[in-house]
């Protein structure tokens, strides 16, 4: 249990083609050779068929998915990035997971304003046109929901890395350093905190310490080169690198400077972490180092049988880069250093691979991230010993996949 029916059939089809090919394809009637396919003979689409292109129809299964029972309704809810279908480190805009509190607001950019008020020398209002005249920067950052993997605190529950780890995306943002906008207003000496507020009906607010605001936060208007998607805060969102996704206020309309935090709903009732003794951590902003093997995984079984096998996964840390990931095939008895591939950027996803010769026997796969501060990703049990099982947020424990002889994979926990 259970790759989707579709993915398993696809795998089976691929396996039979592989078996039939074996050096005598034409004789055995491999249709890839024996029949002239329509795309070999007929004309393809004209250049004006898709002014804004979509993926191949054969990739239609690569989709965000939701889990209806997680929330009371689909408006204040969550969906999941299909990590098991992606490679590299950049998440395509249309697949970036969504988390709304009053739905995805459709904001007219001509009527959008960004206000800065509070303990500033000049309370200001910016139009989108004004904002386009500030110096810009480009940075790749991961955005991880504080609740990513939160359903797994009590044990294995959801069968697939899309569901267990898919409240995350990683894109290149183009935006204005927040400190430039704040300098324009002039922060007064007593201004130690910033309240960011969204323009949607949830009026999302979070308190952010001024040191972070002046450090690396951005007010972003583009992702992966194009305008923010509606569901990602079009036309303007806050980027708070390395910190929990809730703080990345979408449809950003106001920044207030104050001398104390506001203790609003999303930093008291929500996004506080209840420990076993009934006390709760507040302001747990940073996302700890974490990793997951995306392939193989429950939604991406091994369909090729024994032999050369590519293990692939993602690792990230809210505190820096990921210089190293270890992987185990035997549930943690023995570990191997994975091969990092692609750019290593601070507070961004990193891609790792481990190529091995699968002997066809069951595997217990895990990955363990090391970040540039020396932090090593803990096991779930190590976290539970410190926090209990009711903290909902910030579960960065090591994930285990049980790969069976059939190649099917399951979300499990091991001793």
């Amino acid at each position: 249990m259970k790759p989707t029916r579709r993915s398993f059939l696809r795998g089976a089809a691929a396996a039979s083609v592989g078996a039939a090919t074996g050096g005598a394809a034409r004789a055995s009637g491999d249709p890839a050779f024996a029949e002239i396919q329509p795309w070999m003979q007929e004309l393809g689409d004209p250049v004006d068929a898709a002014p804004y292109g979509m993926p191949s129809e054969f990739e239609a299964h690569v989709q965000r998915k939701t889990v209806y029972w997680l929330t009371a309704d689909p408006i204040s809810s969550i969906n999941f990035t299909p990590l098991h279908e992606l490679d590299g480190i950049i998440t395509p805009n249309g697949l970036c997971f969504e988390r709304h509190h009053s739905g995805a607001a459709h904001v007219d950019p001509a009527l959008h304003r960004l206000m800065i008020n509070g303990l500033v020398d000049r309370e200001l209002v910016f139009t989108m046109e004004d904002l386009m005249r500030f110096p810009r920067e480009n940075h790749v950052y991961f955005l991880e929901c504080a609740a990513n993997s939160g359903m797994e605190w009590r044990g294995s529950q959801l069968n697939g890395c899309q569901f267990t780890h898919g409240m995350i995306h990683n894109v290149m943002y183009t935006g204005i350093p927040l400190r430039l906008l704040l300098a324009e207003a002039g922060i007064q000496t007593a201004g130690k905190w910033l309240l960011a507020e969204g323009a949607d009906a949830a009026g999302m607010t979070r308190s952010i310490p001024m040191e972070k605001a002046l450090d690396d936060c951005l007010v972003a208007f583009k992702m992966n080169g194009e305008a923010l998607r509606v569901e990602q805060g079009y036309p303007l969102r806050l980027v708070v690198p390395g910190w929990e996704g809730n703080m990345w206020v979408k449809w950003l309309r106001r920044l207030e400077v104050g001398d104390e935090p506001w203790h609003h709903r999303e930093e008291t009732s929500k996004y506080t972490d209840l420990l076993a003794d009934g006390k709760a951590r507040r302001f747990t902003w940073e996302m700890d180092a974490k990793s997951v093997i995306t392939n193989p995984s429950p939604q991406a079984p091994l369909t090729h049988g024994a032999g050369p096998t590519v293990l692939s996964g993602l690792a990230w840390s809210g505190r820096g880069t990921i210089p190293r990931v270890d992987v185990t095939l035997d549930g943690g008895k023995n570990w191997h250093q994975a091969r990092m591939s692609g750019p290593s950027l601070s507070k961004s996803m990193h891609r790792f691979y481990f190529e091995f010769d699968w002997n066809g026997q069951p595997l217990l796969l895990q990955s363990r991230a090391h970040d540039s501060t020396g932090y090593v990703q803990p096991t779930k049990n190590a976290l539970r010993e410190l926090r209990g099982t009711n903290s909902i947020y910030h579960n960065n424990g090591i994930q285990t996949w049980h790969v069976k002889k059939t190649g099917e994979a399951e979300n499990v926990e091991v001793s």
Binding site: Y68, T71, Q157, H263, R265, T268, A280, D288, N334
Partner: protein, 228 residues
Amino acid sequence: MSRFPDVLKALAAATLIAPAAFAQDAAEAPEGGFGLGRVATTEEVAMWDIDIRPDGKGLPVGSGSVELGEEIWSYNCAHCHGDFAEGIDRWPVLAGGEGTLSDDRPVKTIGSYWPYLSTVYDYVYRAMPFGYSQSLSPDDVYAITAYLLYSNYIVEDDFVLSNENFSEIAMPNEENFFMDDRAETELPQFTAEPCMTDCKEQVEITAHATVLDVTPEDGGEGGGGGID
């Protein structure tokens, strides 16, 4: 260092003290700044700046009784949150759960968990009712807040909440929150060089996701423990 000649800066400054009709002129360029945007009017700030802090900063003048709150509640809130704030179906439970925070299944409500009353006022005023935000008057929200205090056995049924007595209300769980301490309690423990070879003799599977079997095959229905 300004990008604008002094004479332009002087002109920009002059507009700041000009009549309101000219208030939409460009902001004065701060030292080293760009002079982009414009000064927000007092009215504009008042329309958007509705946030409330635990010390009462931001509270509008007004008041509301438990009695009136119950009436407003029944029309605007009870169809999701229940007549007594006990919650209907999956909608949030707002009352009850006292003393459950260290239980196996804690019930986190305004009364049992929330540290500050200001958060109740702020959130109801900015974001409730769900689907019709900012439709309640300040007095309505005082009354609803009073009713929620009553539902949580924090005040009597003749209580009237106002901006005057708001700060006198202490929430039961305020003291049980503390600042993120991972830097002291977790990071040192998780920075040791880990074992690479022959780390354990036996490995047993202790939990299976497929036993619960709540993963949607194609985004379909399921059932299990949520995260909201």
